[in-house]
Symmetry: C2
Subunit: 295 residues, 2 copies
């Protein structure tokens, strides 16, 4: 059984293409790297690198072996992560709140199960309600929100939130589509009711179509989607939801005034708590996947 540590040197040399650079990256002397790698080659019985004046270069055989070594390294990283979790007592529940329509996308995507795989002792719980939960009161630990920033919370942008104006296909066939934002008052509009009167979509509608009586009002984004789908009128929706509905068509392109950033937020007191920090680290590492979920 050969020396498993020598795999570290092999990997480092493969990456830095020289024993000196590899040694530095490992916090070891160049001599050691050179000798351990030579020892590994002796144990294997085949050369792994070509000695060049400019440094080491993997041989063909070395290239073939590299992915195997990387799998070992990945397994070790998992092992270390598990240890780290234990050291920081990463157990318990993380209560996540986000707009209801997002929850389904979250759970259907591989995001949550990947998190479970990485932190088996942490559990994610989605909590939601018809109003914004108050993280300061501990109603949830973290939130995905695209609204305006709450000064009390800290967080990081994870994606863009784009809004556009949608109508149902049948509506467009019967009544046509608005030519521009200024044309909106000539169409029946759907929007939020008074409970969400300060939502930026409500404000924007009052701004571009003052004095217009709404043909329908709802108290949730999802309600808005259904109202537009039913053909009651046209209205602004998050592009992620509108585009996902085959019955809806985007009649006015992205509305600058309504666009915000999706942010992952937490109360500053909680942000550095290990299990919350772990969630942040994970989400930021998986930012690309998160973007497709919130798209």
């Amino acid at each position: 059984m050969f020396d498993w540590n020598d795999l570290k040197y092999f990997l480092a040399v493969a990456r830095h293409q020289s024993t000196i650079a590899a040694g530095k990256s490992l916090g070891l002397s160049q001599s050691t790297v050179q000798r351990r790698l030579a020892e590994l080659e002796r144990a294997i019985g085949q050369p792994l690198v070509e000695r060049r004046p400019s440094g080491y270069r993997l041989t063909k055989f070395g290239e073939e072996l590299l992915p195997h070594a990387e799998r070992i390294e990945a397994a070790v990283t998992d092992f270390e992560r598990r240890i780290n979790d234990e050291a920081h007592d990463l157990t318990g529940v993380i209560r996540v709140t986000c707009p209801e329509p997002i929850i389904g996308r979250m759970t259907k995507s591989a995001l949550i199960e990947r998190f479970q795989a990485r932190h088996p002792k942490l559990r994610i719980e989605f909590v939601t309600s018809d109003r914004y939960l108050d993280l300061s009161k501990g109603e949830a630990d973290v939130a995905f929100r695209s609204g305006d920033t709450d000064d009390e919370l800290v967080g990081r942008k994870v994606a863009d939130s784009i809004w556009a104006v949608y109508a149902s296909r049948s509506y467009v066939e019967q009544h046509g589509r608005p030519a521009a934002v200024s044309d909106l008052p000539n169409h029946p509009l759907v929007g939020f009711d008074e409970t969400l009167s300060m939502h930026r979509a409500s404000i924007w509608l009052r701004d571009v179509a003052p004095e217009v009586k709404m043909s329908a009002r709802t108290n949730s984004v999802l309600g808005l989607v259904y109202a537009v789908k039913s053909g009651l009128g046209i209205g602004p929706l998050p592009a992620s939801l509108g585009d996902a509905e085959p019955d809806l068509v985007r009649v006015l392109g992205p509305i600058q005034e309504l666009s915000r950033s999706w942010r992952l937020l937490a109360h500053p007191d909680l942000r550095r708590v290990p299990r919350i920090a772990a969630f942040f680290d994970f989400i930021l590492a998986e930012r690309e996947l998160v973007k497709t979920i919130l798209a």
Copy 2:
């Protein structure tokens, strides 16, 4: 970065439950095992084992870590295997011959792709023909056969080959089923034609139903299956094929005289050639899966 070699000690101790036994299995002294394991615990910052008079026992945390360590070990094993392949120049093609109906099962099962994963530089080729290929002439390298042993070839049993007498469902409905083997001459029988007159199924049929004129004859096992399915008559089939056909029913239980062992065979000159030996090793290791294929 902790000492990867210490994982070996952890694994050995987990398996042997004592540092002495672990040391022996690793060819090392007991002191080393005990010290390395203590060092690993120090690096991790958590105890992995409980010291008992009877030896070491994994703690709860150790149990949790064990599967991770085993994954690392498995990855290392792959790495070593790859090296071994290179050392023995495991490249090239292995020509496998077997009865035609088996080929489909082989390729559909995970067997072949597992072999590819284990020996990426080896390729498996199935060769077949209407007659038995002659391994001595190099027409193929190895063969799966259930027939009688060819003295010139060497090999190992990998599964049982069971034959029974089958009839189509419609045949049974119209004409009933034979009560015993002795009843067979009263039914229309299907069997092999003269090209396979020495096949043990042909010999058995002549024995239990002499003087009977066959209602249909074919030159392959697969032909036999179709003949029985079409209702032309009843006849002996490998249970693996007969049971797989929903239209067929087994009318007479396993026939002792027709049962043989499935064997993996090769010419003795080839048996120890690295790539053939590798194939043998693999098939024997996967014997359970092979049994379900040949079942």
